[in-house]
Symmetry: D3
Subunit: 282 residues, 6 copies
């Protein structure tokens, strides 16, 4: 008789064998509207039980690969700087072992930890970002480490020309203005995604961050700030297929807030996105 | 230290400066299935906190205009006639000051108060109506003042040729038959909207009433009678863009029932519709 | 003063006069994820009150036909074999009277009872199946009578070439492989439906089974295993129009789980599907 | 095969045989805070399935008596006067047949219909009232027929000395003052109930009305205006035992609002109160 | 980096060191009203995070003891006999290692597996049972292995004089009658518990089963059949203190149904009961 | 026509006339389990509409006094130190005007701002604390400004002998140990409250802080960490009556988390506690 192992859909291979290493970052202290993303990774693991390992979209099966889920980090509520350090440390260790870190948030700020780790290893890193929100504020009520500023913080070190943003439908006027000079930002849709993907030289390391509020809240109510006008699940499948030629060396899926997912549909959607996303990377 | 002002997204300019005057009508006594629209205006004000003032759809910002929200009227439950008089009085006063009344329901019957006020000032008024339901009953269980008869009551004084209805997908057979002779009624969609808008002479005063159950209940569960088969948020943006050449002199958004909006998505959608709608009018 | 008759939308004609006979099968013992479809028929009857009898889609009215709702069967929890026998008996009796049985589940396994009855009367029966899931397992954890195996069980007696499946988006790899040899299975969509319908010789008896999880969970959260990527209500209208030339001699609508329908939208959708489906058959 | 009979816990004997006749009054148009009691009788019938017919409190079994449930009246929303007439008619007919009318609300105003019928037959009627609220307003925003005035309206014809009120914990100051001269009103508790019961001459006809918000909202959230500080289920059992010597000739249980009973506990409590209350009367 | 261990409140010592071994039995196929107890153990583990290890009631701390949580068994839905065998096997193994099995249900039927294992090792076993329901049916709709018959099934081998039942407030008349000859059954309360405990000879092996619906549904809505009139948390503390002199060699806590626990209060209560119950045993 | 004033139950007198000044502190960044108290003050104002101004418990009416509600402070999420400064500033200004600050949280940490302001004005301040939790941690995961440490932080400047804690039922062992030397802490109940009140010299300034999780979660589910075993509403009335002789110069009510109050009962309870508490102070 042994201890109870609890993972996303049975991803419990040994760390050394893993191609992808999943971990959770239960942090939501800078959330400005409805908090609660801290619970996301736990609910995703629990409800992944309702999901098959096989994808009829990709005709691939998770059980044919090696993945492991190392659980949640222990993060100090209210201390964003410290939490980001802990996330960065873990991602660095995974990258050092030549594995792909796959982070489950938490609020969007947590992505900054993995992106920093990825950038340190790969200074030629490209960032592809799907979201309802620009996340380009200089700061939020004086605080530079905010979920509403996470892509701006990544830009601080990645600089112009390396960040592409899709499906953005909310933000302050100043953020949209700023983006014109510094990132590739497509409002509402992802029509330019294919050309962005083509423009990235083969083999270039790419980090992909998916804020789940990119989905329309009809299919994804369980998030801090629901924004009508988002994409549907079929769009996500198309996006992932478009991303598949890339060399994705790190990824995250953030902003599920399970207590606003009364029906379980958002969590089911998050689970399926994670399955399809990991099968796309593999 | 001063009293607590509570408005839609900070619309708190002085009445005299306002271009648009928002007010709420918490009345739902004739609702036939699930009541509760009386709570809509309060929830909309509260959750408008999660919304930016800037619209990336229109590239316009509410903070560049003057609007005020004068709160809710005090309406007697169960007395439809009296409630409509009180709504009409307020709308009349706003119109007299050459401002645009913007009513937040309540059930759809409340629109009759503002439409009557608008018609009194503008006898050449046109009415444009978005809804899941025909709202053309002669009466509902003997009662002529009913949410299910509101457009029929407007027709009583506006007459043939002045009312256009879009996206209608529910009603009794007799209502659809009646409409053939008396209103322009497009079932399910809004393909004829552009030609209706074009047919209205420039400058003609127009009143627009949006029953939020025009939306598909996937994005808008929080309403009395959910009717699958409705429009999505992207459709609403197209509708508003089509309406923008018109001289809209009064408007309303009705039928949010917040206690059936467990996820908050309907309220978020209502907030965004109101922002986009007001920016369209301005 | 008489007893309280409780039916779907007033379908209470005498049995002998009925064209369609509605009955409920409150059984969900083999559900693998979220149980509760046992409550579906009761909620559907209750909320059908919010629905008109007239369909603007078909311009037909239920009140122009004769239908009856004979209520729910009394089924033993946990005993699938016995429950199926009872369902089969009732369907057989309805078919014997040359009426159309219309079954409201319950989990999908209940369809097997009506399909068996229909096949016994019509050995040249064709089966048309709409679902998110293949339902083609040989067994589920050793149990051949499972919701996840119901179409496989129908195949056991119907054999190759008689079963068509549409909109399927979830299952094990082995099920999709098996289907290639034994059923017509279209993944994700229903583009081949028209040609399948055309290929069925006029007058051939057809049974249609609709697992409501064929819908996208944005519009239909109230089901055991929500699967993003499903169809919308407009698709269902198109599907029903495509089916209308067929000689449908039996039908069911299954897998509504009302306690996961916090907003009532799934139940409203189920009600409307049943109205449109019955008007299509009539 | 016969039509679907839907009753409280199987109470479906023939009207002529019935000792108690249950009926529902789905009316809530004068509700001042959270509406929705219109749905109560339907939910009570549906969830009564979870209840045994046997009471271990009284060691009596409903199946040993004759009861019938004749369903809901068809009442016009928004028309209180007409609705009360229809309720009064039904109660009168039941009383005429020397049976006990047992009304399930709806809002508290519906009781007035049955009380009027009972008073017409029994001018020496006594009224015993359990509630959180005084319900003694002269009118509510000008409306004399209001849930908040129902006991005052009964007093209009019953006069001083015939009405006893228990467990009252909310109301306007003026109502409590008025009660001192006109009713027996015990605040918060029911300590004087036994002496009131004793003071009623044997055989005197008594009507008992239970507003379910008399319960603490911990056990009964599903009501329009939850008022902490109420009674618990054990108190209700004591109350019913105290009432058992009386000659109860009519009764009602009102103010369950099922859509505020997310857990089903209020409905389960209402069901059990009705079972125990009817067994007390029998 | 290691796999993710998921346990009740950090109970993750090595099996060999454990005094108590926790395991979950996700089975609910015979539930007659609202199913869903299959999810209980997962939610209990997840929400145990909100709980301290220290009990101010007992002034004892879980972290001073050795416990392990070995996770959930993999049980076949719909097959009660097989599920019970698997539970019995696990409990037998734990007992063989001279540890205390602590089972988290699942519906009440799962207790039968552990009780059988305990009885095989200790033929002089006593059973103490807390519940709202008698659970003494001979069978339920013909099925002897039912949640409503679990104590009767234990009696089948334990016989008269060994079973004590407390707080029972629901059941069929025949069950209460049967109990008079075969078990000690106290209705509604636990006043005789102390004398029952005293009557058990020191050191006698005792199995304690707590059906959480023994609680009043005001504090415990999250269960299949809520029964008003139950005990409160303070009563449970008193009960556990009364049990503390006993030699408890096996125990279970069953019937939490998390999807009916919208507020999380039932799960929090279950967590605290488990903490206090285990500290009582230790 | 004027702006929309939104207050607790109509408390909108001019600041200069006010005896009590209500304000809200929407801050919850250090919450360790379920966040969301940031929404409390808004929901309390909205639902206070369902409450009368008259208390039958105290036979006093809020409308006979002068109170004002100045709305919510604008606090930076994630910055506890800055938020506390802003709260302290506001409370200081209110105290300087010889009025009573009445703070609505937010998480419990916000109380520290008002207590600091009160202590600065009244160095002989006494603190009376009602809570489920000790709140006496030295720090929480390294952070001294935490909801779990708020009373310890007050002790830092108030010192031994000035703090009394009641109804405490949860905490770490070390906190209970620490309390023995530094505060008066009564576990579970408030039996010593009367003697504590008596021991306070007449006229001594007293600050009272009520963490609403002191209530049993049966009546108060809407809080971050529900702890069964709390007090009921009747206890709160007794507590307030016991407090009435004191010279209360500041007060707060904290830890309502409305999104975990699905039924509205917690918010209704909070509203009534605030009404009774303010009438006790006046």
């Amino acid at each position: 008789m042994h201890s109870n192992i609890h993972t996303f859909i049975g991803c419990d291979c040994a760390f050394d064998d893993a191609q992808i290493v999943i971990f959770g970052a239960p942090f939501d202290s800078t959330t400005s509207f409805r908090p609660g993303t801290r619970f996301a990774a736990d609910y995703i693991r629990m409800d992944s039980f309702g999901l098959e390992t096989y994808s009829p979209y990709l005709d691939k099966d998770l059980s044919d690969y090696h993945l492991t889920d190392i659980g949640n980090l222990d993060l100090p509520f209210g201390n964003a700087a410290k939490s980001l350090e802990l996330i960065e440390e873990t991602a660095t260790e995974i990258l050092k072992a030549d594995k792909i870190p796959f982070l489950i948030g938490g609020e969007h700020l947590v992505s900054l930890g993995t992106i920093r780790a990825a950038y340190k290893k790969h200074p030629n890193l490209k960032l592809i970002h799907f979201d309802a929100h620009t996340d380009l504020r200089e700061d939020y009520m004086g605080e530079p480490l905010s979920h509403a500023a996470v892509i701006r913080r990544a830009w601080d070190f990645m600089g112009d020309g390396n960040i592409s943003q899709f499906c953005i439908r909310s933000g302050e006027k100043a953020e949209f203005e700023w983006a014109k000079a510094h990132t590739h930002l497509e409002k509402f849709s992802y029509e330019t995604l294919a050309s962005v993907v083509e423009s990235i030289e083969e083999g270039t390391p790419v980090y992909v961050t998916i804020d789940l509020d990119v989905f329309d809240p009809s299919i994804f109510s369980g998030t801090g700030t629901p924004e009508p006008g988002g994409i549907f699940f079929g769009d996500m499948i198309k996006i992932l297929k478009t991303l598949s030629p890339l060399n994705i060396i790190g990824a995250d899926v953030v902003e599920l807030s399970p207590h606003y997912d009364q029906t379980g549909v958002s969590t089911a959607t998050a689970c399926k996105v994670i399955r399809e996303f990991m099968l796309t990377i593999l």
